[in-house]
């Protein structure tokens, strides 16, 4: 583990000795054991591991979707282990989320789905929000499908709209949970490459949970989890044939 490479102030994510469990009493099941992880600005980190290894739980803690109960967690400089529910909502507004399902509102067009995110950023004037939404959809290759409803788009196109939505408002961190799981290999590859390009060009760090061994090569670092513990953390050369 290279937890010492950055100070607390520049690390995007700094988790120390996180423990987390579901249930209570006899049904209590510990999901995370003493997890420590640091993500630096601009890094693309992939979190792998078998089902039930605690990857997604770790992601929800970092995303402010669950409350940290044991251990320390700083995300974008905010101490989430001391955060109130209101703080957690504020933190989530600085994060771009990409889910396994695209979860687009099916009654809004691609452009409206992306524009909706700017409601969380009232400082951005509506015309600017419209321009930026259009621009990011062009970047993900959907310039011609701005006014299509999700039902008129393919799975890969919908996931690209979801990527555009996650990136539109200029997040300081992107969290992705199995973004390729519902896609065929080519569409999955396209979505991940797109995510990599956009994150690199903006210097935006990405933490991505995936099983998909075909996309591991985009990562700067691969963190492997098993049974709620981090088993390996480092550059996996085998997964980066080009690098």
């Amino acid at each position: 583990m290279d937890a010492g490479t950055g100070t607390m102030s520049d690390a995007v994510i700094q988790a120390a000795n996180l423990n987390f469990s579901f249930g209570s009493g006899e049904l209590r099941r510990q999901i995370l054991h003493d997890v420590s992880l640091v993500v630096q600005p601009g890094e693309i980190v992939i979190l792998t591991g078998p089902s039930g290894s605690g990857k997604t739980t770790l992601l929800t803690l970092i995303g402010g979707l669950r409350q940290v109960v044991d251990g320390e967690l700083f995300v974008l400089g905010r101490p989430l282990h001391r955060a109130t529910p209101r703080d957690l909502v504020a933190c989530r507004r600085d994060i771009g989320f990409i889910f396994q399902q695209h979860n687009l509102l099916d009654f809004l067009t691609a452009r409206q789905n992306v524009e909706l995110v700017f409601q969380l950023h009232p400082d951005v004037p509506a015309p600017v929000a419209a321009d930026r939404s259009r621009a990011i959809l062009k970047q993900v290759g959907l310039g011609a499908r701005l006014d299509s409803l999700p039902s008129q788009l393919s799975g890969g196109q919908k996931q690209r709209v979801a990527v555009a939505r996650a990136l539109a408002a200029g997040p300081r961190l992107i969290l992705a949970d199995e973004p390729t799981a519902a896609l065929d290999s080519q569409s999955g590859r396209d979505v991940v490459t797109l995510l990599q390009d956009l994150a690199r060009s903006r210097g935006c760090p990405v933490l991505m949970v995936t099983h998909d061994s075909r996309v591991l090569d985009i990562a700067d670092r691969i963190v492997h989890m098993e049974d709620g513990r981090i088993m390996a953390d480092g550059v996996c050369d085998a997964a980066r044939p080009a690098g």
Partner: protein
């Protein structure tokens, strides 16, 4: 807030059929509320319509009288005492009773309300009654209410053709010599107006010294309340003097308490409210349930419960306003249908229109609040 409304609108219009069903539900609820409350108002209004026509400033009734349509009587001599007060300009008496009218065309008998009203300066506003003054004086003459129900026969048409109709009332031959348009109510199907003398001829058993209703007109400038207060001691415990407005209030209260008008039509309106509530709740709830993963996603990316609440409430507001318009139009049409069918006039009042609009908004807002509890339970962590 505007963004939430825009989102609400887009979600509503996405499913056109669902939108139509929801609007139909709201429209039916609005229509039911307006029609039921309108009939209630109509029934109340027509029942006190005659009381409202009294132009006297004050009335004298027996303390045992609950409604002037089945009044207890009091001695006429009490009424004479009032004339002693210099503030009194005119004292009159009118009588109301039920009689049996025999339809001269098919010989069926039907009850009819009969009124004994003085023909010289009557303190009751009956348009056209004065015109027949001299024709009414002879024995057994009467004037028919042109708005009586059809069950009495084609009286008005025959009057127009032949000038008079001979009928049998309480087994006496009565000559109907004209008609005035007054109107019926839920308690009476028809009215017949005549002089007090002819009234007594129809009710031979009635003691001549007993009267039902005294009308008092005070001189201009006199304070009615003060007159009533000062004169009450002269009447003792056998009669009560009150202002005409107080009589209207008492008659209205009597209708409310004894006739189940309030309950029946109030219940009808409540059923309308409930139907609308259930339909709107069902529509909003299924919409929320269908969109739950998406709403959870919105929460995950930083939208608060307040925004999602505003979206669902916004849908409720849009439904209530859009559904109100067709419901209102439908109700206006049904007022006309009901007026023709029940032969009682029903009107839309601004007060009722506003009240039902408020009830509609409340109905939709309640549905939204019930439906939105589901949104609040959406756990953003579940979308992963």
């Amino acid at each position: 807030m505007i963004a939430a409304l825009v989102l609400a609108w887009r979600q509503l219009v996405h499913h056109k059929v669902k939108l139509c069903v929801a609007l139909a539900g709201v429209a039916v609820a609005v229509m039911l509320m307006l029609v039921q409350l309108g009939i209630r108002q109509g029934a109340m209004d027509t029942s006190v319509a005659f009381t409202r026509r009294i132009t006297a400033d004050a009335v004298v009734v027996s303390p045992r009288t609950r409604t002037i349509f089945s009044a207890a009587s009091f001695p006429r001599r009490l009424l004479h005492r009032l004339r002693a007060d210099e503030r009194i300009e005119q004292v009159q008496e009118i009588s109301i009773a039920q009689a049996r009218w025999r339809n001269p065309w098919n010989y069926f008998e039907h009850p009819i309300s009969i009124y004994g009203i003085p023909i010289d300066e009557p303190l009751v506003e009956l348009p056209g009654y004065d015109d027949h003054r001299d024709d009414l004086r002879p024995r057994d003459r009467a004037i028919f209410d042109a708005r009586s129900r059809a069950t009495y026969g084609p009286v008005v048409e025959t009057l127009a053709r032949e000038g008079a109709v001979e009928v049998e009332v309480n087994r006496r031959r009565i000559r109907v010599i004209g008609s005035v348009p007054v109107g019926v109510s839920i308690t009476t199907d028809g009215n017949l107006y005549m002089t007090p003398e002819n009234f007594l001829r129809l009710l031979p058993g009635r003691p001549a010294g007993a009267i039902d209703l005294g009308l008092v007109k005070v001189r201009p400038g006199a304070d009615v309340a003060a007159v009533c207060h000062d004169l009450q001691p002269y009447l003792g415990a056998e009669a009560t003097i009150m202002s005409s407005a107080a009589l209207v209030a008492a008659e209205t209260a009597f209708m409310r308490e004894t006739a189940p008008v309030d309950f029946i039509f109030g219940m009808g309106a409540a059923v309308g409210f409930f139907i609308g509530f259930v339909v709107v709740y069902q529509i909003l709830y299924t919409e929320v349930a269908n969109q739950l993963p998406k709403f959870a996603t919105l929460k995950a990316i930083g939208f608060g419960n307040g925004f999602l609440l505003a979206v669902v409430l916004g849908q409720a507001m849009i439904l209530s306003l859009l559904g109100y318009v067709p419901g209102f139009v439908l109700a206006i049409w049904l007022y006309d249908v009901a007026t023709a069918a029940i032969e009682m006039p029903f009107f839309m009042t601004a007060e009722r229109a506003v009240m039902v609009a408020g009830a509609t908004v409340l109905m939709c807002a309640l549905s939204a609040i019930m439906a939105v509890r589901k949104v609040q339970s959406a756990d953003p962590a579940d979308v992963f």
